[in-house]
């Protein structure tokens, strides 16, 4: 059993990666060099026949895929297709021409580029491996047979066995879509006349005006948001981005504090039936969100049950007299911009606090009681203990979770969408022109742009911006928080 604990030797770095490759070419014998063209020869020469054949098969597969799959798509990749969909009538039926589908060309080309990229990595690795075999042979060290190779997959190389399938899944569902999304941000894909299969789309720098001159620029889609000061998109984007940040902060913070307070309340001295209380609160989050939120949306309708109750007990009149609502007979819970934002945060507390309460209960049990006791002896009251001991403890323990929560709230699709869809009309006419609504987050706006407007290119830009912002934020805050924090220390 080889238990090789490879230290994370970063000093080898990127240069080492290519140095080995160069060494393979410099010092390799004819088999190693031949491997660069006919992969697998290096293995066969060292009697690793099965492995050699397998590697060679991969190479043939690669070549075939390049010829039959990549080449036809690459040929059209520059224009993303030129033959537009058309049909002619043949009697009652239609005959459809052999048209180009811009989206499939884009998709297949990116898959092909990805394959090439992976193949290059594979090829480099292959070169190094056959060279290492040569070195091993020269030094008379043992060379694995195929059985031993297989065996290593449940031993020293077990992580390869474990990670292969999940990685493939992530490539399919996460990485490829992101790459395609990035490409779409540089096309005019979207709207009525640039949506395949019936129409073509092309790169932004190939967009022509009516008289056939090229008018597009590379960053056209991005400048919709940034440079063009007068456009409704620019207006809506900054407003929505601002609200998204405010919302993420409010939502994370209120639920965090609320959860701790609720957990403290349930855990405080003299409370009976703690489990029952806890369960009562948890029940509300156990109901699927799309059920509970749609329900709440109808509960707070302008012509809904809660409005009736409010007007029956005179609350509506009172608020009207305080000039908090514009009309005397309804409280516009989910139709007025300010009220809606307020209600969304409140309803999010309703959704989020029980979760946080659960976690806080767990964390509270680990709070060092000695500190609390000594503070109490020093004459600190409950509030001071909460601020100076309990909160800092929570912030340390929950720090990473808070960051994740913050990012999750930036992308909190469900709460916003389910509470405002079909019921909220924007009161800001410039936003309306960009198909945005005041309580929209960037994600819900993006969803509406793709779903109702088919503005795929604009939506991709928003997606990329959100992604970059979130990733940067997370990386930086984790880097700060994790400074000097090695997971090994715990063991």
């Amino acid at each position: 059993m080889t238990l090789k604990k490879t230290p994370n030797n970063t000093s080898r770095g990127h240069f080492g990666y290519f140095r080995d490759l160069i060494a393979a070419f410099k010092n390799g014998d004819k088999y190693v060099r031949l491997s660069s063209v006919a992969m697998g020869t290096g293995y066969i020469a060292r009697k690793q026949v099965i492995k050699g054949i397998l590697v060679f098969l991969v190479q043939i597969l690669f070549i075939l895929s390049m010829i039959f799959f990549a080449a036809p798509n690459f040929a059209k990749f520059g224009t993303l297709g030129t033959v537009e969909y058309a049909y002619e009538k043949v009697g009652l039926n239609t005959r459809i021409n052999n048209y180009d589908n811009s989206f499939l060309i884009l998709l297949n080309s990116i898959v092909a580029i990805f394959i090439i990229f992976v193949f290059i990595l594979f090829w480099i690795h292959n070169m190094k491996a056959v060279y290492e075999l040569q070195v091993r042979k020269e030094h008379g060290r043992p060379i694995n047979n195929f059985k031993q190779d297989l065996r290593s997959l449940i031993e020293g190389n077990f992580h390869l066995t474990l990670l292969t399938l999940p990685t493939l899944g992530v490539i399919l569902i996460n990485i490829l879509p992101i790459l395609i999304l990035i490409a779409i941000a540089f096309t005019n894909y979207g709207g009525l006349e640039h949506t395949p299969p019936t129409h073509l789309f092309t790169w932004t720098w190939r967009v022509k005006n009516a008289s056939g001159e090229v008018v597009g620029k590379v960053w056209d889609n991005f400048s919709t948001f940034f440079s063009n000061k007068n456009s409704n998109f620019n207006y809506a984007f900054w407003r929505i981005a601002g609200w998204t940040l405010l919302w993420a902060f409010l939502a994370t913070f209120t639920c965090f504090i609320g959860g701790i307070l609720l957990a403290k309340l349930i855990n405080s001295d003299g409370i009976k039936f703690r489990r029952v209380w806890r369960t009562l609160f948890i029940i509300t989050i156990a109901v699927p969100q799309f059920v509970s939120l749609i329900l709440v949306r109808n509960f707070f309708r302008d012509s809904g049950i809660f409005n009736t109750i409010c007007s029956d007990i005179g609350l509506t009149k009172l608020l009207y007299n305080m000039h908090l609502i514009p009309t005397p007979d309804t409280i516009p819970f989910l139709t007025n911009p300010k009220w809606t934002k307020f209600m969304i945060v409140m309803i999010n507390i309703w959704v989020g606090v029980p979760y946080q309460m659960l976690i806080a209960t767990g964390v509270l049990m680990n709070i060092p009681q000695s500190q609390v006791e000594s503070a109490r002896l020093d004459g600190a009251n409950n509030f001071q203990i909460f601020v100076h001991i309990i909160m800092p403890y929570f912030l340390v323990v929950q720090g990473p979770a808070l960051i994740t929560d913050f990012v999750r709230n930036i992308n909190n699709f469900n709460v916003i969408y389910l509470l405002t869809q079909d019921i909220y009309q924007t009161h800001d006419l410039k936003m309306a022109a960009a198909n945005a609504k005041e309580p929209d987050l960037l994600v819900t706006w993006l969803f509406r742009l793709t779903n109702e407007n088919a503005s795929y290119n604009i939506a991709s830009v928003i997606g990329i911006i959100v992604f970059i912002a979130c990733a940067t934020f997370t990386l930086i805050s984790f880097a700060i928080m994790m400074r000097g924090n090695k997971e090994e220390d715990y063991r």
Partner: protein, 285 residues
Amino acid sequence: MEKRRHISVVIKHILLAVLALIWLIPIIWLIVTSFKLDTGISVSKFFPEKWSAHNFVDLFKDTKYTTDGIMKYKIWFKNTFIIAVFTCLISTTFVLMVSYALSFCRFKGRRFIMNISMILNMFPGVLSMVVIYFLMKALDLTQSHIGMIIVYSAGSGLGYLIVKGYMDTISTSIREAAIIDGCSEAGIFFRVVLPLCKPIIVYQVISSFLMPWGDFVFAKLILGTNSSKWTLAIGLYNMLDKSRLNAHFTHFCAGGLLVSIPISILFLIMQKYYVEGITSGSSKE
């Protein structure tokens, strides 16, 4: 002094009761509305005037609604269940595999994988929804449950954090002892680590099982307009389309209540392990 303490306990109980009531009002509304006789949404009365269980009966009986595609509750339930079972199997396997590899194995690129997956995990599915649809379509997996299962479970490896956090608390000495006994890496995974991870596996199983019951965005896009393929979430969401609100609000409530009961039970089981998983990481500090 004793009296003041007593009063404060009473006040705390009252406060808790009020809060619990606020938290439960919508749920109570859900329950009572699902037993309402007329199908519309009521404006003036919290409790229905006439009670009836017909909403539940409608969900399961073959009525006009069934052929109209508005209420194929049984079919939807079955679809969601099948999708949930497979999603759960694949996701749990993936997550355990990734967690073990990242927690116990030391290999080149481990840090890199962890960083990359943290970034990828930041990417919300809604953003790439349309692309995933066309990707699935290119694979001919739209309008199919297999496609749905792939969408739900293929990327699940990224959600390893909680499980890995739990595995990190398992002492390496147990592992080293097993190695001395001549156990292979795979043997350690199956015979040593997995049995120790039972609580977090329960958490992972339940949470991945619950996922398909709540998603309506991807399901709607991938499964399309054929209502026999839908999951419960799309079906229920569809009942509340603007034009149908008054005809089916109580059906929605009944359906929502029915699906909530098993989910709540699973959730209550899960929350214990959830807390254990989350706080096990923090107790180390």
